[in-house]
């Protein structure tokens, strides 16, 4: 049995049946990481003590013949923007280079309570700001399919670790596409839940009205299992919604025949790579053969999504990142003589170029004289974007699109052109702004063997339908 390629159920069952142990599973993953990760760069920190202690607990349960929890013994990785008690958490930034959190992120705590083994913390763009993982202050991540290419971002480490069998599943975060786009680039499943479905407590804030935690996995079923584990109201996050969590796994096998799937022309226009277009069209054809009804829909404000996003997200970021001041935690410049100099130098040395760019853009958009022209304007256009989806969802159950306009690009290709990098998120930011859920699943490959992603967007709090459609496609493909 190849321990590294197991799905969640297979790994848990193997531990339950004593074919292997949680400890041997963790060891197998650490050996794989030691051997393969130097070329890929997905992990920033390994939490071996914590992992083996939890594995011993699970093994004790299995030895007694007790029923294991849903993720009993399953090795996972956590994007480094989620805080982990006693395990260094940097958000990919030098400003948090030595930060050891005193508490656990709710999503991480729920995964562990369900029996998961946290192997370590995964590389990402600094403060989750980026689309290629090249903004990590520590080192870039290489796409396991082609080491000369990016894994996508900002959850690049989370996607690459799953693709390279260095974790069964991982948690990522999505603010503008940061779960779905790397999932698409690395050929894995990535699910962004509805805003409010999963608690953000312990997620280091980038843009609080957009940020969401979700799973990256090998199968749609695994994504359903993880979502079920982390979803639901958490009193520690006032924006986590009081909405019942359905049994996502049981819902996967419901028939998709008769479901109406929207296809929006705005997602198939200029800038879409012909090979990506061909793969996505073929996937839509496949869904039609499975009995789904394909319905044209219009999302006319799509072209305004990127400009809206880069005002809303940077404005919120400039406010959220004001907390990094060198006083209570994080990096402090040692050469400052006054308090004001200490703030400035700590932030100057601690933040990377992209983070500073976004703080500057967001501060500018919120500054006196420009607030109405930029921030208020963007909030109004955000309303129009949400209305687009509300109109479309009157007629369809889900909407299918490409996840990204291209397959994985080369490392270094877009680093000098921030705007070109921002446009990599053109098909994903809309769902972040509208608060709706979206999933990316693999749908074929380009001639260069690079994965292509199919994105399925759903109604608020209706992850069940997009998981069901994704599962049906995955089983048929």
């Amino acid at each position: 049995m190849d321990l590294n390629s197991l799905t969640i159920d297979a790994a848990r069952s193997a531990v339950q049946a004593k074919t292997t142990t949680a400890t041997s599973l963790a060891e197998a993953f650490y050996s794989k990481i030691q051997r393969d990760d130097p070329q890929i760069g997905s992990y920033l920190m390994l939490s071996k003590d914590r992992a083996f202690a939890k594995a011993a607990e699970i093994d004790a349960l299995a030895a007694k013949g007790e029923k294991l929890p849903p993720l009993g013994g399953v090795p996972i990785g956590i994007k480094d923007v989620m805080v982990t008690r006693g395990v260094r958490t940097t958000a990919g930034s030098k400003i948090l280079g030595n930060y050891v959190p005193p508490y656990d992120c709710t999503a991480v705590a729920r995964m562990e309570a369900a029996g998961a083994i946290v192997l370590g913390k995964l590389n990402c763009d600094e403060f989750a700001m980026g689309s290629s993982n090249e903004n990590s202050a520590w080192h870039p991540v290489h796409n396991p399919r082609d080491l000369s290419r990016v894994p996508g971002g900002s959850s690049g480490g989370s996607a690459a670790a799953v693709a390279a069998d260095m974790a069964v599943a991982t948690l990522g975060s999505d603010t503008g596409g940061s779960i779905r786009q790397p999932a698409s680039f690395c050929g894995v499943v990535g699910l962004m839940p509805t805003y409010g479905r999963v608690s953000r407590y312990g997620l280091i804030a980038f843009a609080s009205s957009l940020d969401r935690i979700g799973p990256l996995t090998k199968t749609v079923r695994d994504a359903a299992i993880v979502l079920h584990t982390i979803a639901g109201r958490d009193p520690m996050d006032a924006t986590s919604a009081e909405v019942p969590v359905p049994d996502y796994v049981a819902g996967l096998e419901k028939p998709v025949r008769g479901l109406k799937l929207g296809v929006a022309k705005e997602y198939f226009g200029e800038g879409l790579d012909p090979e990506v277009k061909e793969s996505v069209k073929a996937a839509i054809q496949k869904l039609s053969q499975l009995g789904c009804e394909i319905v044209p829909v219009s999302l006319p404000h799509t072209e305004y999504a990127i400009p809206t996003y880069y005002i809303v997200a940077t404005a919120e970021a400039s406010s959220n990142l004001a907390r990094f001041d060198g006083v209570r935690y994080g990096y402090r410049a040692s050469d400052a003589r006054t308090l004001s100099e200490m703030y400035r130098r700590s932030r100057d040395h601690g933040f990377g170029a992209e983070v500073k760019r976004r703080i500057m853009l967001g501060t500018y958009a919120l500054s006196a004289g420009y607030y109405d022209a930029y921030y208020l304007k963007a909030q109004k256009v955000r309303t129009l974007l949400v209305r687009d989806f509300e109109e479309a969802f009157k007629n369809v159950d889900a909407i299918v699109t490409p996840t990204s306009p291209t397959a994985a690009f080369k490392l270094g290709e877009k680093v000098d052109d921030p705007l070109a990098m921002y446009l990599a998120d053109i098909f994903t930011v809309t769902a972040d702004l509208a608060g709706i859920p979206g999933i990316s699943i693999p749908c074929g490959e380009t001639k260069e063997n690079l994965p292509v992603g199919l994105q399925i967007l759903g109604k608020h709090f209706d992850e069940a339908t997009i998981l069901r459609v994704a599962h049906a496609y995955e089983q048929a493909a």
Binding site: T239, R337, T383
Partner: protein
């Protein structure tokens, strides 16, 4: 050019950033390029559109109520240690760059 060198300096001040000469030059170029793209938002008339701060005021709330009563589910009793114990003092200081054991220490605030 929407943003000038002077604007870059002013905004850097607001954001508590110093920025090197080189960084300021790059920032000037990048902000102008990004804002030029963002200007396409003005193609849309939004005079009668209400702004959206976030989506969570639209879902999962008590629609029959108005104002903060819509979010009744998110409120809790205002009691000491209502959700969890506060961090012990020494734990809260553990990550600080400089402390005297009781307070966070910073460089001089008042010049004299």
């Amino acid at each position: 050019m929407k943003v000038t060198e002077k604007d870059v300096g002013y905004v850097a001040d607001l954001a508590n950033l110093e920025l090197t000469e080189d960084e300021r030059a790059h920032m000037l170029r990048d902000l102008n390029s990004i804002l030029e793209y963002i200007d396409r938002l003005n193609q849309r008339d939004t005079a009668n559109v209400s702004p959206m701060a976030q989506v969570s005021d639209r879902y999962g709330v008590d629609e029959s109520k108005t104002g903060s009563a819509r979010f009744a589910y998110a409120s809790r009793e205002d009691i000491l240690e209502g959700l969890r114990k506060s961090l012990p003092h020494e734990v809260a200081l553990e990550n600080a760059p400089d402390t005297d054991g009781t307070f966070f220490k910073v460089p001089k605030v008042i010049e004299r």
